[in-house]
Amino acid sequence: MLNLGYGQIAVTSAIAVALAMEAGIPILPAAALGLLIGGLFGLFLDLTILRPVYRLRGEARVLLSLLLTLGVSFIVDGFLNWRFPLKTLNLHIGGGAVEILGVPMRRGSLVASAITLATFAGLFVFFGRTSLGRAIRSVIEDEEGARLIGIDPKKMLRLILVLSGVLAALVAVTRSMVAPVDTKSGLSITVFALIVTVVGGLGNVVGALLAGIILGIVNVIAADFIGSYISLIILLVAAAVTILIRPAGLLGVKE
């Protein structure tokens, strides 16, 4: 299953956080509210348009999920651009640059990276060491096999959707520490998520982290030296080359 509404979930959460902060809510509760909105968005997708998707198997499921979530993202995009065209989430973290090993780093980047790494560590432990995390993976591996040992795939898929919604919201919050997130940021977040997923290998947490770091570096260097529009093309080329060389992703295993 592929969710192309990911960027729009992030943007919706970002707008919610921005509105909450305008209403005078402090940043931490506002961010928590954003994560909640992201999770609820995921839950909503699970309970509504993804129902028919779950009935399908294999390629048909991927294709239908792709089309339906793309449709949702258009609707959300249109709505947000209509209602909140100028709304921007900007959690700029002030103070001068911090020098690490002689390299000046922006405080916002450091905080965002720290949150991201901590989240990855949490996900790694959750999926690798807890029985619920393993149960979720079992459904991704073999749905029928999961059912035969008493795991309900529908519940696990719902958990995945809620969790990915929360993570999308977290992307919006951390991203806004580095650059403003507005209603037009959705597409680039989705595209970046898609590229990272493909390069890292579907359903591979460590692969996604590795791909995120490598592509992030490629992206920044390309944007600095060549230009931000060309850097997106370079990322897409990097993804295409990865698929050609390692169809299952960087750390993927052939099945």
Binding site: D142, G145, L148, I151
Partner: protein, 232 residues
């Protein structure tokens, strides 16, 4: 323990098994034998909840489990080991076994029983299930089902794809479990293997149960001999 009455089932309204009735008593080993395409797998998929029957009733330990989804039946203490095994290929042996006990914590005692039974699994503890040989995958599939301490183990063609020696080893392991009091229902195409293992059996032919009896009775039956043992 398991009681099946008038069960018909199939795919998209076309029944493959018709009006099937049989019983499995506590601590018994019962086989359903029949040639390829007789409906054994369809019957077993229906029993364990992967398919919904078009009519009939299935009772497990007195409770009606007809049409209940597979994930709920699995939690009732009846575990199905599919001929396709349905392991989690990119997860380790350890993870596959631990998941067998889900949502409960695996009992150390059960784990040691499984690893005593299949020492190969302990040797490959951190290896991905997808890298195992066919025989090892079958051991893992059975081991994973045992992790939940089921009262009834339902096996669909455990010898599928296994070399004769490996298939015999799998049945030896099942024998150990039987002696511990586990109730087993098994389908098998390699009839001699099942005959050596089971107390009673049923012969499924074109979706109907044609014969039933103790293993000795079935073995003595000429029809069975000619049709399934290749002896005339």
């Amino acid at each position: 323990m398991l009681e099946v009455n008038g069960l018909s089932a199939g795919y998209q309204g076309n029944d493959v098994v018709h009006d099937v009735a049989f019983r499995v008593h506590q601590a018994e080993a019962v086989m359903i034998i029949g040639s390829n395409g007789a409906g054994k797998t369809t019957l077993f998929k229906t029993l364990c909840g992967l398919l919904s029957p078009s009519s009939g009733k299935v009772l497990f330990e007195g409770g009606d489990i007809t049409g209940i989804p597979a994930e709920r039946i699995a939690r009732l203490g009846m575990r199905f080991v599919s001929a396709a095994r349905h392991l989690f290929p990119r997860m380790t042996i350890e993870e596959n076994l631990l998941l067998g006990a889900y949502p409960n914590k695996p009992e150390p005692e059960t784990m040691s029983i499984v690893l005593d039974l299949f020492p190969r699994l302990a040797e490959r503890w951190r290896q991905r299930a997808g890298t195992l040989s066919g025989g090892e995958q079958q051991m893992l599939a059975i081991g994973r089902a045992l992790m939940s301490n089921p009262r009834l183990l339902v096996l669909d063609e455990p010898s599928t794809g296994l070399a004769p020696l490996v298939a015999r080893a799998a049945y030896e392991a099942l024998n150990v479990l039987r002696e511990r009091g586990l109730t087993v229902l098994v389908t098998e195409q390699q009839v001699p293997l099942a005959m050596a293992f089971c107390d009673r059996g049923y012969v499924l032919e074109n979706g109907f149960i044609r014969l039933e009896g103790t293993t000795e009775q079935l073995a003595a039956n000429l029809a069975v001999r000619s049709a399934y043992l290749g002896v005339t």
